[in-house]
């Protein structure tokens, strides 16, 4: 039987008495590119944090690779799941290599003393994300796009089965957006890693995801193949704005165009 990467049953989450996720159930099969979309405040990030084990949900039935998340030790979970969070500022001058190497720490002793084989894995992660030329650069000397790829390299160096990304293309130009998305597709294809991404970029989601989850107010509004989820009725209802949906010039993908206010007045 094919094991799922993530199984969630009746997951709810509250901040105080405010419920952010309402009895959500779904599964992510292994080796998929799975993208979670939805309006601001729909609970996307909270869902991602729950899967990563950062947020402990009530009545949690959350399985990672067929085993309840509560049965993982911290380090065992870190060897299974890696997270690329939204942009963080780091005021300390680590080099790219030092940062990526830290990805090895769930495999190492208390002082994290890296051996030659860990260096090898870090070098491979760095070359996988195409930032070899930046190895010795300090983090604060990188552009937004370079930075994002470096943080992805760190996550890859953790050798996870599942990689979680929280809006990795936010504030990147379109060239870097495509680079990041291509990288994730390659990670899935080459290494069989399950990719779970939260994104606001519906058009990128339409082109890259194997499966799409649409959240609104903490509930699942649509889930399945992107061409099924991205229907006119569902999207206009969820986002509450006028949209045009047609086929991408590339063929086979849907293309979503939000309609500017000035076209609605007439």
């Amino acid at each position: 039987m094919m094991q799922n990467a993530v199984d969630i049953k009746n997951l709810s989450h509250y901040y105080g008495s405010y419920s952010v996720l309402k009895e959500i159930s779904f599964s992510i099969p292994k080796g998929r590119f799975f993208i979670i979309i939805g309006p601001n405040g729909s609970g996307k990030t909270t869902l991602l944090k729950s899967i990563s084990g950062i947020e402990k949900a009530r009545n949690e039935k959350l399985d990672i690779l067929g085993k309840p998340i509560t049965e993982y030790s911290r380090r065992a979970l870190a060897r299974t799941i890696a997270l690329v969070p939204q942009m963080v500022t780091i005021d300390f001058p680590f080099t790219v290599m030092e940062l990526v190497l830290m990805g090895r720490s769930p495999y190492l002793g208390i002082l994290g003393l890296e051996e030659e084989k860990d260096l090898e894995i870090a070098r491979e992660a760095i070359s996988f994300t195409g930032v070899e030329h930046l190895s010795d650069r300090k983090l604060d000397q990188l552009s937004g796009g370079e930075r994002q790829r470096v943080f992805i390299a760190r996550a890859i160096c953790q050798q996870p089965s599942v990689i979680l990304l929280d809006e990795p293309t936010a504030s990147l130009d379109i060239a870097h957006q495509i680079k990041v998305m291509d990288l994730m597709e390659k990670l899935k294809e080459d290494k069989g890693v399950t990719v779970v991404m939260v994104s606001h970029e519906i058009n990128l989601a339409a082109m890259y995801s194997d499966e799409l989850l649409l959240l609104k107010d903490g509930e699942i509004v649509g889930m399945g193949l992107p061409e099924d989820v991205l229907s006119f009725e569902i999207l206009e209802n969820v986002y509450g704005c006028k949209l045009l949906i047609d086929e991408s010039p590339l063929g086979k993908f849907k293309r979503i165009t939000p309609v500017p206010g000035k076209f609605l007045d007439k």
Binding site: K49, S52, G53, I54, S73, R74, R75, L77, A78, R79, I81, A82, L83, P85, V88, I90, D91, F92, P93, F94, T95, E98, L99, M102, G103, S105, P106, I110, L111, G112, L113, E114, E115, E116, L119, R154, Q158, L164
Partner: protein, 335 residues
């Protein structure tokens, strides 16, 4: 390179060895120079010759200078390490026990302990510890309790807590006739001249294990710098690491404050210097700050003894004169 040897060990050994030599040189200078003669050559002979032959120089070196130099090294190491730990935990390169007011809090605790008639150890030390923990909690609550603290709000609250503590210290000392705390300068500017060999021994017994435990956490500190989310998903028990380090650091700082008063900015100068020289890896920085911080304080103490024509000045004058301008420079560069 040997294939199976962690390459970091090599670097760690080299850095520690070098700094150990520097520390030894500083300690030797500290033992050699003082108001009542000595001279490098004579002291060297006294040190390599037979100990305890009862000469005048021997007495000065072992009874007076040795405890002082040793405690200077311990205090310097503690304050540097304290700065390093606070900077990592608060993810703020400007954090430091003195600037945050934690030293001030423990000084108040110590003074109250003395006024209540407690013995120096463990009574006064425990009061100093309570004082530092109370200040720490106060600062964390004021900066909204989050560990991801804004630079500005953290520093502002620290400055306010610090001046409040200074005012309380002055108030307490002015209101009392107690001769045991008559010396305001001791508390406000720090002073190493009062310490004896017994106190130094107690200090060492408390501090050295704390140094070792902090070293064990050095890799976790590296990972904490990446932010809570990444640290969590890299297998670090953030709560455990943070609380252990904060409590240990407050403990160390209060131990030094109750023995030597307030010494400012050491925890800023030393970690910054080593971060510039050696990079931000705490597995290197922790031993470097212990050995280098010790060296720094021994040299500052030497300056405070030898600069004035007559008598000496509190060593806190020296550390503040070096540290405060550096702090302003760093603040300007960070902004």
């Amino acid at each position: 390179m040997n294939n199976n040897k962690p390459f970091l060990l090599k670097r760690l050994t080299a850095v520690s060895f070098l700094l150990l030599i520097l520390l030894a040189v500083a300690v030797f200078l500290g033992l050699s120079i003082g108001s009542t003669g000595g001279g490098i050559k004579n002291v060297w002979q006294a040190l390599i010759g037979e100990k305890g032959n009862g000469s005048m120089l021997d007495t000065i070196i072992w009874r007076i200078r040795f405890p002082r130099v040793l405690s200077a090294a311990l205090v310097g190491a503690t304050l540097s390490l304290g700065g390093l730990v606070f900077q990592a935990l608060l993810r703020n390169p400007l954090a430091e026990p003195y600037i945050l007011g934690i030293s001030g809090g423990s000084a108040i605790g110590a003074i109250i302990g003395i006024l209540l008639g407690f013995s120096r150890f463990p009574g006064v030390s425990s009061m100093a510890f309570i004082g530092s923990i109370a200040t720490l909690v106060l600062i964390l609550v004021m900066s909204s309790g989050q560990m991801i603290l804004k630079k500005e709000s953290l520093l502002l609250s620290g400055v306010m807590v610090n001046s409040f503590c200074s005012a309380i210290i002055m108030f307490l000392i002015s209101m009392t006739q107690d001769s045991r705390i008559h010396n305001i300068m001791f508390w406000l500017m720090g002073d190493l001249s009062m310490i004896d060999i017994g106190q130094t021994g107690v200090l060492a017994a408390m501090l050295l294990p704390a140094f070792f435990i902090i070293f064990l956490f050095s890799n976790s500190m590296n990972i904490l710098l990446l932010g809570e989310e990444m640290a969590h998903t890299m297998g670090v028990n953030i709560r455990f690491v943070t609380i252990t380090l904060l409590v240990l650091t407050s403990f160390m700082v209060s131990a030094t404050v109750s023995n030597c008063g307030l010494l400012g900015f050491v925890g800023l100068v030393v970690p910054h210097l080593f971060r510039l020289l050696l990079g931000p890896d705490h597995r290197i920085l922790v031993p470097a700050c212990i050995l280098g911080g010790g060296t720094y304080m021994v040299l500052c103490d030497l300056l405070s003894r030898s600069l004035p024509q007559q008598g000496e000045m509190p060593v806190g004058v020296i550390t503040a004169m070096i540290g405060a301008p550096l702090f302003i420079y760093l603040l300007k560069r960070a902004g």
